[in-house]
């Protein structure tokens, strides 16, 4: 029985993904759980696995194609299945018509499925490049913002960042009129002088070699930039800081690690404590959406992982229900997958708070930018020796500073302060985490 394989949704906010590689070619058989294709989003490269043994009868998109989530990407059959009339099969599955539309890479020569005629050159399409998308259906591909050559030049001449301009052309392309509009908006608050009105062209082009080199943005770098910019612009951050005594935390860690088969980190304990704090203060286990504050039942926590490819924030599920050692293993596993570029769709979804830790670099304290759509991020500093006052006397102590960044839209200051107090209490009495 032939069936359609569709583009899976890789992360919550992605409507498209790139089919980066077919791991099974046309007429290739696969076993259950074999990877069939690699699919990539801004955040992750994910293997699409077979749910049962079968055969790829026909791939419908070329490697590199940007595909809408839910659109057909291949026709699968039973192992060894042969198809005499592929076209009829495609028609019966209702996918023939979309074949071309979902392969943007072929848009320079999309062909009419019936005649093979190049649609691109047909007069009824004005010879333009392929079937037209609605201007509204704008979606940057691979993090790239489409803009016309003229729009780019005008923006550059005016010192305007093209990324910030809203495109109204085909596929959301930024056109001259969009740049003109953006420039008009920029200039309207005051009366520009005539000098300023005339866009100045640089008298000479910037030399290609002037003591620097341009490293092209990776997809992840662009995504990080875009999301964090968005976060800082849209989520009003406020910050709470607490310094906690860490002796008990270190002692507990040493005790647990006394078992040679176990190795937990301070960070594992912090994540566990965050999970527990979220259970105590469930109003913190939320995210902001345009219509409502969404409160989650389970506590999912993201952990920031630095990788060669950039910063990743995989999510650990239901932290509250995991033992410290199980949590440690789970964190280790997602961190490894992140470093290997093998994060799964699941690994990236959900979470209301992230934990980021630069303590291993000796950083005493820092404030982090919230990873949207989460409501908070906890920045964890190093455990350090400090003089502390104990019963009126100054003694040597071990302390750790944590800084909570909070999105003020769903969370008020008092709630966040309460949560932080709970967290501090748990960190200073970590045995409660084992209860």
């Amino acid at each position: 029985m032939a069936r359609v394989l569709r583009m899976p949704g890789i992360s919550a906010d992605a409507t498209e993904a790139v089919l980066s590689e077919w791991l099974v070619e046309d007429s290739g058989d696969f076993g259950p759980a074999d990877p069939i294709a690699t699919v990539e989003t801004e955040k992750a490269a994910v293997d699409v696995e077979a749910d049962a043994a079968g055969r790829v009868l026909k791939t419908l998109v070329l490697p590199g194609a940007q595909v809408l989530v839910g659109d057909p990407i291949a026709i699968l059959g039973e192992p060894g299945e042969e198809v005499a009339d592929l076209d009829a099969l495609l028609t019966s599955l209702g996918v023939a018509a979309v074949t071309d539309a979902i392969i943007p890479e072929r848009r320079d020569v999309p062909s009419d499925p019936g005649s093979g005629a190049p649609l691109a050159e047909r007069p009824d399409l004005g010879g333009r490049a392929g079937p037209l998308a609605d201007p509204e259906q704008s979606s940057p591909v691979n993090g790239r913002v489409f803009s016309s050559p003229l729009a780019r030049r005008l923006a550059k001449d005016a010192g305007l960042a093209i990324d910030g301009v809203k495109g109204t052309g085909p596929r959301g392309r930024i056109l001259r009129r969009d740049v003109d509009k953006a420039l008009a908006g920029r200039q309207s608050p005051r009366t520009p002088t005539s000098d300023e009105q005339a866009p100045k062209r640089p008298s000479t082009p910037v030399a290609a070699s002037r003591g620097y080199r341009d490293i092209p943005h990776s997809r992840i770098r662009l995504a990080t930039a875009r999301r964090l910019t968005e976060s800082k612009q849209q989520a009003p951050h406020f910050y709470l800081r607490a310094t906690v005594r860490a002796e008990a935390l270190l002692a507990l860690r040493a005790e647990v690690n006394g078992d040679p088969s176990t190795h937990i980190s301070v960070n594992d304990l912090v994540v566990k404590a965050v999970g527990a704090a979220h259970r105590r203060e469930p109003e913190m286990n939320v995210i902001w959406t345009p219509d409502a504050i969404r409160q989650y039942d389970a506590v999912d926590i993201a952990v920031a992982v630095a990788t060669d490819r950039g910063l990743m924030t995989p999510v650990v599920r239901d932290v509250g229900s995991l033992s410290v050692t199980a949590l440690s293993v789970a964190i280790g596993a997602v961190a490894q997958r992140a470093r290997d570029g093998k994060l799964k769709q699941d690994d990236l979804e959900g979470g209301t708070i992230a934990v980021t830790n630069l303590g291993m670099y000796g950083v005493e304290e820092f404030a982090a930018i919230i990873n949207p759509p989460m409501a908070a991020i906890l920045a964890v500093g190093a455990v350090r020796d400090e003089p502390v006052v104990e019963n009126g006397a100054v003694v040597a102590g071990k302390v750790m500073t944590v800084t909570l960044s909070v999105d003020h839209r769903p969370v008020d200051g008092v709630l966040a302060a309460r949560w932080l107090a709970v967290l501090a209490e748990l960190l200073e009495h970590p045995v409660r985490l084992l209860a």
Binding site: P123, G126, G127, L132, P135, L150
Partner: protein
């Protein structure tokens, strides 16, 4: 049982057989010249093979060793006024003609070569090596040897490709009132190709003084003449066209000379074309210095038998028998010539500093300048300097004119003022001005200058190409349908389009091709194309596309003065249309490379031409997209009006290229490519295009309409553009 009446060809066919008596009767000076030429050609060719063996010749060296007698014997029956052209194996033909031109009174085999002879040898060797000193600055090489001054009009690498042009040289000789003749040399392989047979027919129909000189060396590369034809007696080709034919032993230079003398005399007294078949043999393979037997297609015994009849040894033996030269003198002539070739080679070659001892290389200074690679693809238009060029286009008084009347009127005016213009094509001399009236009134006014041709496009276009290469007359060729370009493709693209550049860049090819675009007339898939896109791929052509009577007159006047081949596109839709044309000025010229803005607009630049201009203007009228409509007028890469395009794009920032014809052969592709690179920063949208469909237009009226872009297709494109 019906009666069987024997029939016979209308033309004679004889074999010339020479005996010692003929040698006895021959002028000793002629025989000395024959021997001297044979020696020069042989030693030259041997030297070329030596260079080829040393890797100093780039490309093939088609050796003529063994075949010298045919060229030498025949050329000595000609004068410098007579023209020759030849085949890929043409060193001997070219050398014989050039040597005869510089030493008209004859050559002495024992005399030191004159400076002129040395010049011929060094420039020919340089050309074969691809060097700047060559006749064509090394562009032509071994297979394209041309020295027009000597009447050597160019050898040719396309089998049969030069034959139609030779008919053109013959036509020019006769039209100029001379008794000069044209000789076209080709091999047995070329007797089976259409251009040769078409040219025989055309030359016979028109009684042209052209000799089809067949060097039957029995092998077309490795295919023997017996395999390639049912009539291997190739002189018999002439009989089918009522052409007088001579067969002769091509290893005997005197026999060839006697046969050729008869043929030339026959042509000079107006007998029409001739065929001379010289039975000969190339001692080596197709190219290089190895015998054909080494490649397995012929026997060593056969090669030995032919070598025993080596024209040099045969001639030497006769000269010795006649007491004209001694054995030693014959050998001395060869060793002297060999020494001269070594000296000539030393002028071009030097020891290779990076090579083994004895290894040579081309002297670096001898190479042509690589920067010169595209020089002379087309001319510099200096011929237009004194043309009555209209810059202010309101300077010409205009009135409403029917397009087709302007076509005939301007040609009549030009033929009046320029007796060199000749019009040819299918039915142009009948039907009251050809199939569309374009030559109306001209046959009666200009007898002998409006020539109805047989239906053989390759032959009559090639003939016109020959007239253009000759340069004394300006041919105007009409194609009844543009699609016939494919039939004449070799002559249009390989010959006429490349001739100027390939032969050095300085000799013009003044030819006008009036190509009728007949889409929309119900003539179907094979008669409805727009040739502009294909023609634009050819480097040598200029293309004009007039859309009004006024433009037609001015552009045709410019085209007729231009020393490049110019195709004037004529759309049959326009013939019956009317528009502004000149009142009484039929002499003004429109400048090369000047487009016309037919409608000013601010939103979109539409580039269009010919009959599509009108449809674009219709579509633009009243449309919300304010289109600026540019009628390109000049379409080829060298003549297109970039200034107007850029000015318009600077204003509108987007461009639509609109044309009527099928997408596959469409014109706009190269233009879109050029625009996106030249004007990337001016573009706010991709280059838009309107073309016809994928298929050629069909006969059925509705299908034909659907295949051709007109107003509604442009409107659809404008609507699409308006969405953004």
């Amino acid at each position: 049982m019906p009666e069987h009446r024997p029939m016979s060809p209308a033309s004679p066919w004889v074999e010339i057989v020479v005996t010692d008596d003929d040698w006895d009767a021959a002028d000793p000076d002629l025989l000395r010249t024959i021997y001297a030429q044979l020696v020069w050609v042989r030693t030259f060719e041997q030297y070329v093979l030596d260079l080829a063996g040393a890797g100093l010749i780039h490309g093939p060296a088609h050796s003529s060793i063994g075949q010298e007698a045919g060229a030498v014997g025949s050329v000595l029956a000609l004068t410098s006024e007579d023209s020759v052209n030849g085949s890929h194996r043409g060193h001997h033909q070219f050398l014989a003609k050039a040597l005869h031109h510089v030493e008209r009174k004859g050559l002495d085999p024992l005399a030191a070569p004159s400076d002129d002879v040395r010049e011929v040898l060094v420039r020919t060797l340089a050309e074969i090596c691809g060097l700047d000193r060559g006749w064509s600055h090394g562009r032509g090489g071994s297979m394209h040897l041309q020295w027009k001054e000597a009447g050597a009009m160019g050898t040719n690498a396309i089998v049969g490709g030069g034959v139609p042009q030779a008919a053109g040289f013959a036509w020019s000789h006769r039209q100029a009132g001379t008794d000069a003749v044209s000789v076209t040399y080709f091999g047995d392989g070329a007797t089976n190709i259409g251009s040769t047979l078409e040219s025989m027919n055309l030359a016979s129909a028109w009684g042209l003084p052209v000799c089809f000189f067949i060097e039957n060396n029995h092998y077309a590369v490795s295919t023997s003449v017996d395999e390639a034809t049912g009539e291997p007696r190739l002189a018999a080709r002439g009989l089918g066209f009522s052409i007088a034919a001579w067969s002769v032993d091509g290893m005997d230079p005197l026999a060839v000379h006697l046969a050729m003398t008869e043929a030339v005399e026959y042509m000079r007294r107006g007998g029409g074309p001739t065929v001379v078949e010289a039975d000969t043999y190339r001692f080596f393979h197709q190219n290089g210095g190895f015998a054909g037997s080494a490649f397995g297609y012929r026997e060593k015994a056969e090669e030995r038998a032919w070598r025993e009849r080596d024209p040099l040894t045969q001639t030497a033996a006769q000269l010795q028998r006649l007491g004209i030269l001694t054995t030693q003198e014959c050998e001395l002539a060869i060793s002297n010539a060999t020494g001269v070739m070594d000296e000539i080679g030393a002028a071009l070659l030097e020891a290779d500093p990076a090579g083994k001892p004895g290894q040579r290389r081309i002297k670096p200074a001898e190479w042509p300048d690589p920067a010169w690679v595209d020089f002379g693809v087309r001319g510099d238009l200096a011929e237009l300097d004194d043309a009555p060029m209209v810059v202010d286009e309101s300077a010409v008084a205009v009135e409403e004119t029917t397009f087709i009347d302007a076509v005939a009127a301007v040609m009549g005016r030009r033929m009046d003022t320029d007796p060199g213009i000749v019009v040819m094509g299918e039915d142009v001399h009948r039907l009251n001005g050809g199939t569309n009236g374009a030559t109306r009134g001209l046959p009666a006014r200009f007898p002998g200058r409006v020539l109805g041709t047989p239906i053989s496009e390759n032959a009559f276009v090639g003939l016109a190409g020959g007239i253009a290469l000759d340069g004394r007359f300006t041919p105007v060729v009409e194609f009844m349908y543009a699609d016939f370009m494919w039939v004449a493709a070799d002559q249009l693209f390989n010959q006429i389009g490349k001739a100027r550049h390939m032969y050095g860049g300085s000799n013009g090819v003044p030819l006008v091709l009036r190509s009728k675009v007949a889409m929309g007339t119900g003539y179907g898939s094979q008669h409805s194309m727009d040739p502009a896109g294909v023609l634009a791929t050819s480097a040598g052509w200029r293309i004009v596309a007039p859309s009004t009577p006024y433009d037609y007159v001015g552009l045709m006047n410019t085209a007729l003065r231009c020393q490049d081949p110019v195709v004037v596109l004529e759309h049959v839709d326009l013939y019956t249309s009317s528009g502004l044309g000149p009142v009484d000025d039929w002499d003004y010229c429109l400048p090369v490379g000047r487009a016309a803005v037919r409608r000013a607009g601010s939103d979109l630049t539409v580039l269009t031409y010919l009959a599509m201009t009108r449809y674009v203007l219709e579509a633009a009228e009243g449309h919300q997209v304010d289109a600026e409509v540019v009628d390109l007028r000049w379409l080829d890469r060298a003549s297109i009006d970039w200034a107007t395009i850029e000015a318009s794009l600077t204003k509108t920032n987007q461009v639509l290229i609109a044309e009527q014809g099928a997408v596959g052969t469409s014109y706009g592709g190269w233009l879109a490519d050029e625009i996106q690179r030249r004007y990337f920063d001016l573009l706010d949208a991709p280059v838009w295009r309107v073309t016809g469909g994928v298929a050629s237009p069909s006969i059925s009226k509705v299908l034909e309409r659907a295949a051709i872009a007109q107003t509604s297709e442009v409107v659809a494109a404008l609507d699409e553009i308006a969405r953004y």
